[in-house]
Amino acid sequence: MLKVLRYLLIGLLVVLAGFPVYWMATTALSLNSELYGTGQVIWPQLQNLPELWRELGQVPIGLWLFNTLLIAAGGTVLSLTLGSLAGYALSRFRFHGKGLVGFLLFMTQVVPEALILVPLYAMFITFGLLNSLIGLVLANVGFSLPVACFVLKGAMDAVPYEIEESAIIDNCPRFSVLTMIILPLIMPSIAAAAVVAFFAGWNEFLFASTFLMDRGNWPASVGLASFVGQYETPMSAVMGAALVFSLPAVVFFLLIQRKIVAGLTAGAVKG
């Protein structure tokens, strides 16, 4: 009986989580006339696929997706690289102002993005980063780096110090201790931080819509928003683009979730 209830609950959660995807697919494969008419289309109409393809072909959705990928991947790589170095320093070294550094990193999460939009805009003009994907990556890293740093620092704290000392005794330089010993041991946390940083970049909209004027530089999020017209919004195209926009992120998550497992340090030390 308890098992049945458990499966019922799981089923309910699956329906709740999957409903938006279903709705998106159904809407994407419906004609606008069907959407604005009476009666609800229940199942995705696959015969409308060529029509959806034609509508999406009118916008450079491939380029936008590529831009999104650059922003998300660039931000992820930069956040993880800098985050692992900063996390290691915060985890293993004692220095003046360590607490302050932690506090300041935390404060970046408290500041709303909209609040720093204008100062950032001024800075981007000064540094020539306006309308550039690199600028957008840097702006995003400002927010995802502290998260990555905290996540990785926490994971490094849990790595027994003796493993590191053992590597030092074995003639392993400090940098290699980090890259060859510590980082492989905290792979689950790196994967978790990567998910956070990647999705922060993938879903980026505010900075992108403000700093990127050139249509060719837009990420998919801004491109998606451009479908909304003054008099008309092609809902099926919007949902179709949104579906295409979601798929790479889902694939990324499915690939990386296998890394998010615990217990990699098992067997390292006694106890």
Partner: protein, 382 residues
């Protein structure tokens, strides 16, 4: 192969002093054991030798050169950690080969990604592969070479840690209680193997343990420590036969040396304030002293034949020998009252005597087997 010299070496953690003015010389090629109870500072001392802990004050010299600030790499040591400290993401083979691979690494091999390729290539290099295999065979790890530490037992992990330290050719071997997690049989085997290895390589070994059997069987010299202070530095025989103080006398030997408060009287000795003993040779020049005698130096005799009347309180039959714990019987006891001493007086006899608990007996000794200690300081009296 460096000779090590400690000159007034101290280590403080905040206000807490862990090692106080440590002075010692570790000779080239010797097997030195640091022995003491938990928390006495012996592991800290080993870490200071390895360069893993800073020295608060004093000098540590390697071959006469002050090495206080030397990096671990420059010291050329191998270290076996008490907690194994294995690399859990590497196989046993990779763990053992890691020091060899690091020695073979060029500077640019340390670049990320490059290090992965370089490591895989070096793992296949014939000299590294052979040495790894040889060490694994020596420690009976060959069937486990492709397994990860998480799937090994405690003893197997400890052997991997030992193999990783021994596979290199360092000038100094530092071992921090390396056998603490092995079962009795394997411990005995590894004791012999480490001793054999020391004889074979002829390098300096510094070995930390709280197990006196390990210390007595393996050491060429022992440093006994308590609360960060050196109690005695000597050969195992001398530490046992001529302890410098009551701490050493109690710490070395199982059961430990019998220490009985004694008053020197013109007529002889008064032990524990109750038992008058006829004893006039080799007495200390002071009135009160601590009478020390090893259990095997006491003789167990039938009632009336020895100078110390006693009653059996504990019997530990060990097969080849028997340890008997006795309580002295005073004159009052003859009237039926038993004076209970705080500590038992232990006697070690060979074989398996047919004694019963509660049975009366007597103990005796030779005057030259008695060691005298100061009652207040615990120091040995000459």
């Amino acid at each position: 192969m460096p000779a090590l010299t400690f000159k007034n070496v101290s280590k403080n953690f905040g206000d807490h002093s862990v090692i106080k003015a440590f002075n010692a010389d570790i000779h080239d090629g010797e097997f030195l054991v640091l022995l003491g109870p938990s928390g006495c500072g012996k592991s800290t001392l080993l870490r200071m030798i390895a360069g893993l802990s800073d020295i608060t004050s004093g000098d540590l010299r390697f071959d006469g050169q002050i090495a206080n600030d030397w990096e671990p790499k420059r010291r050329g040591v191998a270290f076996v950690f008490q907690t194994y400290a294995l690399y859990p993401h590497m196989t046993v083979r990779e763990n053992i080969a890691f020091p060899l691979i690091m020695d073979a690494f060029r500077k640019w091999y340390h670049l990320p990604v490059v290090n992965i390729i370089a490591r895989h290539r070096l793992m296949r290099r014939s000299d590294i592969a052979e040495r790894t295999l040889k060490m694994a065979r020596q420690l009976e790890l060959e069937p486990l070479l492709d397994r990860r530490p998480a799937s090994l037992s405690g003893g197997q992990r400890q052997r991997v840690a030992l193999a990783r330290a021994l596979v290199r050719d360092p000038s100094l071997y530092l071992l921090d209680e390396p056998l603490s997690n092995l079962d009795a049989k394997l411990r005995t085997q590894m004791r012999s193997e480490i001793s054999a290895l020391h004889n074979k390589v002829g390098k300096t070994f510094v070995y930390v343990t709280h197990d006196q059997v390990e210390a007595m069987t393996m050491a060429s010299r022992i440093i006994i420590m308590d609360k960060g202070v050196v109690q005695q530095v000597d050969t195992p025989d001398n530490v046992y036969d001529n302890p410098a103080n009551t701490f050493v006398a109690k710490f070395i030997g199982s059961p430990p040396m019998n220490l009985i408060p004694a008053s020197v009287r013109p007529s002889g000795l008064m032990l524990s304030g109750e038992i008058a003993v006829e004893h006039r040779e080799a007495l200390p020049s002071r009135r009160e002293a601590m009478f020390g005698i090893r259990p095997e130096k006491l003789e167990l005799k039938p009632v009336g034949e020895g100078r110390l009347p006693a009653r059996v309180a504990v019997i530990e039959r060990l097969g080849a020998e028997t340890v008997i714990g006795c309580r002295f019987i005073t004159g009052k006891d003859d009237a039926g009252e038993l004076l209970i001493e705080q500590d038992l007086v232990f006697v070690r006899v060979s074989g398996n005597p047919k004694m019963q608990i509660g049975e009366a007996c007597s103990l005796d000794y030779r005057s030259e087997d008695v060691l005298w200690f100061d009652v207040d300081t615990g120091q040995r009296l000459s």
